[in-house]
């Protein structure tokens, strides 16, 4: 009995050790990004290539999702507002919800699934097939070529995708409002712009930068530290999505608290 308790304690302590080791490794990985990003050589060509892959190739999925979110959210909000005879507030309500929270969140979650898992799997597969070692022995810094470029690309492209999602979702919302309330496009968007403040747009872009950084960094970290062959690649891709989504929600919560401080003032 005492032996069993001892073994359990030992296993538990090993897990705690592994957790803190992983945390320290992740910290060093992030620290290395800031050490390498400002030092030449700069991989501009690869950054642009990654921006294209992350940005342009995500457009169809983001467009469809954003459009559906706009329509569904408008449809679901209408009954509540109509109870108070306030359906004319729909454009304002939808605009605020989309710009402040839904646009950034939906885009980041879609990107975590599509881009984050892709990065995790790609780098993980390069790791287990020794392509990263091959890069290193040919005197190329693989961290700079693979990690810095991808993290920069996600950090730059997610805010752009968020603005695009906001637009597409608002278009979806407009179509729904137009069909039901016969509101013209100019009236709809006039109401949208009168209810959205500079702080809403600014905070949305800033938090999207953090979302993008998180998606890129987690995907790269999980891929770069993957092991155990193809099974490890699958795990890296899966962990990249799960961890990024978890961190995105935490960041959303934190950003809400910080932005509210500015609103109260």
């Amino acid at each position: 009995m005492a032996g069993q308790t001892g073994t359990r304690k030992h296993v538990f302590s090993k897990k705690i050790d592994a957790f803190f080791k992983d945390l320290a490794d992740a910290w060093n990985f992030v620290k290395r990004f800031f050490q390498e990003v400002f030092v030449p050589p700069y991989e501009f060509k690869e950054v642009i290539h990654q921006c294209y892959r992350i940005g342009v190739e995500s457009l169809p999925l983001i467009s469809l999702t954003g459009f559906i979110v706009g329509i569904v959210f408008t449809n679901q909000s209408r009954p509540s507002l109509s109870e108070f005879g306030a359906t004319s507030w729909l454009p304002s309500l939808i605009a605020i919800a989309i710009v402040r929270a839904m646009g950034p969140l939906v885009t980041a979650l879609i990107a975590a699934g599509k881009v984050g898992s892709g990065i995790g799997a790609e780098i993980g597969s390069m790791k287990v097939t020794e392509q990263i070692d091959a890069m290193e022995v040919s005197a190329t810094n693989p961290y700079k070529f693979l990690v810095v470029t991808r993290v920069l690309a996600t950090t730059l492209m997610i805010p752009v995708l968020v603005m695009y999602t906001d637009f597409v979702a608002l278009m979806g919302a407009f179509i729904n409002v137009n069909a039901n309330e016969l509101v013209s496009m100019s009236t709809f968007f006039a109401q949208v712009f009168s209810s959205v403040t500079f702080l809403d747009i600014f905070s949305s872009i800033i938090k999207s930068l953090f979302f993008g950084f998180t998606i890129g960094m987690v995907g790269c970290y999980k891929g770069y530290t993957s092991s155990k062959g193809t099974e490890g690649v699958g795990r890296a891709a899966n962990a990249a999505v799960v961890v990024s989504m978890f961190l995105i929600f935490i960041e959303e919560l934190l950003s809400l608290q910080i932005i509210n401080l500015f609103r109260i003032k």
Binding site: M126, E130, Q131, A134, M135, E136, V137, A139, T140
Partner: protein, 252 residues
Amino acid sequence: MDNREKVVVVRDLYKAFGELEVLKGVDLDLYREENLVVLGRSGTGKSVLIKIMVGLLRQDSGSMEVLGKEISRLGVRQLNEMRLKIGFSFQNSALYDSMTVRENMEFPLVRNIKNLTKKEISLRIEELLDAVGLPQTINQMPSELSGGQKKRIGVARTLVLNPEIMLYDEPTAGLDPITCVDINNLINEVRERYKTSSIVITHDLSCAKQTGDRMAVLLEGQFGALGTFEEVFPHAEDQRIKSFYDYNFINL
């Protein structure tokens, strides 16, 4: 007393992974334009030895001198300069999946040799693809190549920077016997044509016999035998070396 120039000098090299001691005081010399074959069973640390040579791993103690410089004392820039003089052909070729054969070969070239014109780059790539007998694959993706073709392209990619030393990690692993002979011939041709000194890591005695000037057999972290094929194998007294030979040739 051997007066030939030594390009790699390994002395009393130790390397462990946790509690697993892999290399336990390894001594080794590689002479200029020599093909040295390092043999041993899987997990004996053969690949670890050459990974220390290019700075992918660091030894726990002992010295690893390559072209007169101690690898563990080199800074990042010096290590990268040294890496340009060493070609490393990986066990599974390690071609970049997302690039064509041309882009795979351009990658080390354009990053390390500045001021090359597009024509010069193309000429260099075409010359090397001719040398490995695969000029037609230039625009193909690695996924479209056979195992043997990948190995050849992998070798061509390492040669693009004119290395002085070639390291081959299991060059014939997973290939059919005929392709193995082709790869062995390629290793010999590379030495003849580009005047390289090579270390070939393998557990394939046919490959060893065909390519090696000397054999070094790694047994439990140390070299158990060192010499020509005839000196080391047919009449080996050490049971472990004898069984290695028997399983490769006699048991067939």
